[in-house]
Symmetry: C2
Subunit: 135 residues, 2 copies
DNA sequence: TTCCTTGCAAATCGTTTGCATAATG
DNA sequence: CATTATGCAAACGATTTGCAAGGAA
């Protein structure tokens, strides 16, 4: 159960820390392969799962059928664009209050909270507006 | 695109409305089969997807790798037990405020919000306590 | 030397889809 | 009659896993 050092895991974690767009396992794989051409997709999955289990990264389920990963483990919520599928952070200062309130109204033990907003991102809105103007 | 009546879809929707535990497609299938023995799993999936697309039911992604379905389309959040996997409703009156606050802090268009708490449900807590007392 | 980790490929599993047939409007 | 829905089985795609070989403690 103890984790030994592995170059592959280090590369994966390092890569994830450079990104704020919450990449999928496959995106991680495609990128990490440039630095480590022999790495396998299975190893990427294994290490992402391992890191998530240890709490060093977050595994996000945003509803598009693919898992996304986030090196930022602080409590925050996410937004998913229904048009382009991008996943971004969304700052909200009422999250802790929400947890408190939930704990008061619920007679089990609440450990965490996943919040995910859906809609159209600013870029897609702008693109749509531009297209409407031209059309 | 227009929906014609289908007995199968009706049975599926009816069944879902009797349940508050947010069953998976397969659970819907197993149950609905007792009333309609020749229904196929594909038909269950097709109709659940159709109903969800029409907004008549909700498709939930709670992070266990399987989609859950909910006939209650009013805005509410969910709790998932990390031990037994049960999915329950969790009443919270600050959800609308949260949406408002998110809209103020975000320059895209937000249409909806999925919130899912994780932890240990009351039943599992009790079971654990009982086991500790005996052991 | 012991145990964790890797690469590879095959297996898993939830979900979707193609097709010929049946039911609805 | 036109269109949507069904059952069945095959296809799909993301993720996991078994195994023999390689690397860290």
């Amino acid at each position: 159960m103890a984790m030994k050092y592995s170059r592959q895991r280090q590369v994966i974690h390092n890569f994830l820390m450079t990104r704020k767009d919450h990449p999928t396992a496959d995106v991680v794989y495609q990128n990490v392969r440039q630095e480590d051409p022999h790495i396998s997709l299975g190893t990427v999955y294994r290490n992402l799962t391992l890191l998530a289990d240890k709490g060093e990264i977050l595994r996000l389920h945003v509803g598009d059928g693919v898992d996304h990963f986030d090196a930022d483990t602080s409590r925050h919520c996410h937004f998913v664009c229904s048009r382009c599928g991008c996943v971004t952070d969304l700052p909200l200062d009422c999250l802790e209050d929400m947890l408190l309130q939930a704990r008061q109204h619920f007679d089990g033990e609440i450990t965490s909270l996943d919040t995910c907003f859906h809609g159209i991102c600013a870029d897609c809105l702008n693109a749509a507006a531009k297209q409407a103007a031209h059309g």
